[in-house]
Symmetry: C2
Subunit: 151 residues, 2 copies
Amino acid sequence: MDLGVRARRDLDDDVQTRLAEGEHRYTSGRRSLVDALARADGPVTLPALLAMDPTLVVSSTYRNLAVLVEAGVVRRLVHGADHAHYELAEELTRHHHHLICESCGSVSDVTFDDRVERTLGKTFQRVADEAGFVPHHHAIDLFGRCRVCAA
Amino acid sequence: MDLGVRARRDLDDDVQTRLAEGEHRYTSGRRSLVDALARADGPVTLPALLAMDPTLVVSSTYRNLAVLVEAGVVRRLVHGADHAHYELAEELTRHHHHLICESCGSVSDVTFDDRVERTLGKTFQRVADEAGFVPHHHAIDLFGRCRVCAA
DNA sequence: TTGCTTGCAAATGATTTGCACTGCT
DNA sequence: AGCAGTGCAAATCATTTGCAAGCAA
C-alpha cells in the first residue's frame, strides 16, 4: 500500500484518532510500526517488519500490532505459513483481496473492479441470509504460485 | 458434509486410493479420523475431533491429518482462532466457501450457484494473469456473526 | 519380515505475559 | 504524579518430533 506524503499525514491523523478512542497513545514506537507497514508493498510478517526497522522489538511489536488491530488500524492475516501477516486495515487503504503463494508463502494484494465487488456483495448477502448469518466483511484468497515461484 | 452410506463407501475407496499413491496405509485409526470428519457438519478443530471419537490420540491425529492433507483427502483451514479447522477436501465433497463467526470462531459451509462460480473464476483468472500469478484454487470467507451469536 | 504406524513424553517455535523501568500527558 | 508503553526474560500452548513397541502388506 504505497501512500504519498499527503496520504501519509492523513494516515497518521487517522491512526491517532482511532488510538485515542481506545485510550491509547500514538507513541514513536507505534509510529515506526505504522510507518513500516505503510512502506511494505503488501502484507508482511513480524520478522519482515523487524528487518525493515531494526529498532522494533519483538514483544512490543506483537503488543502494538494487537493494539492496532483492536483499534481497527491493522488487519492480521493467518494462512498456513509459519508467521501471520499484517497489513494496514482496508478502512485506511482500499478494499482488496490476496494472492497467496503456496510455494514461498508470500502474500500480495489485488483489487477487483467495483462492479464485480457489488455483485459479490449481493451474492454474499443472500447466501448469508439463508444461513441466518450476519456478514460483516469478506475475504477472497487466490492460492497458487507467485510470479517468482512460477518461473 | 453429510454423506449417505453409498457415498461413504465411495469416500473410503477414494481415500484408500489416494493414500496408496503415497505409499501410505489406510489404517483403522485413519478410518476413524475420516469417519469423524465425514460425520462433522462442517470444518472442525482437533479438540472437536477428539471429542467426537475418544479413541483418537492427539499426536497421531495431527500426524494423520498431515498425511491426509498431503494425500489431498483433507483440507486444513487456518483463521485467527486458536485451533486450525479441518474438513474433507473439496475433491471428495463439493466446492464451497466459509462463514466464519468472529464471535465464537465456528466455521460453516456455504455454496454459490455455478453461474456465480463461473463468473468468479473468470475474474480471478484475469486478475491473476495481470500479476503473473498462476492460480490454483480460491477461497472465499464471509466473516460476521453466526445464527447463534447474532441472536 | 519390513518398515509404516502408533502412543507417550519431550521438544519446538510463534506469540504472549510478568515485571521493573521509561516517558507521555 | 499517575499510568500507558517498552524491553527483556520467562511462560504459553498448539503442533511437531524422538523413540520403542505394534501392526499391515
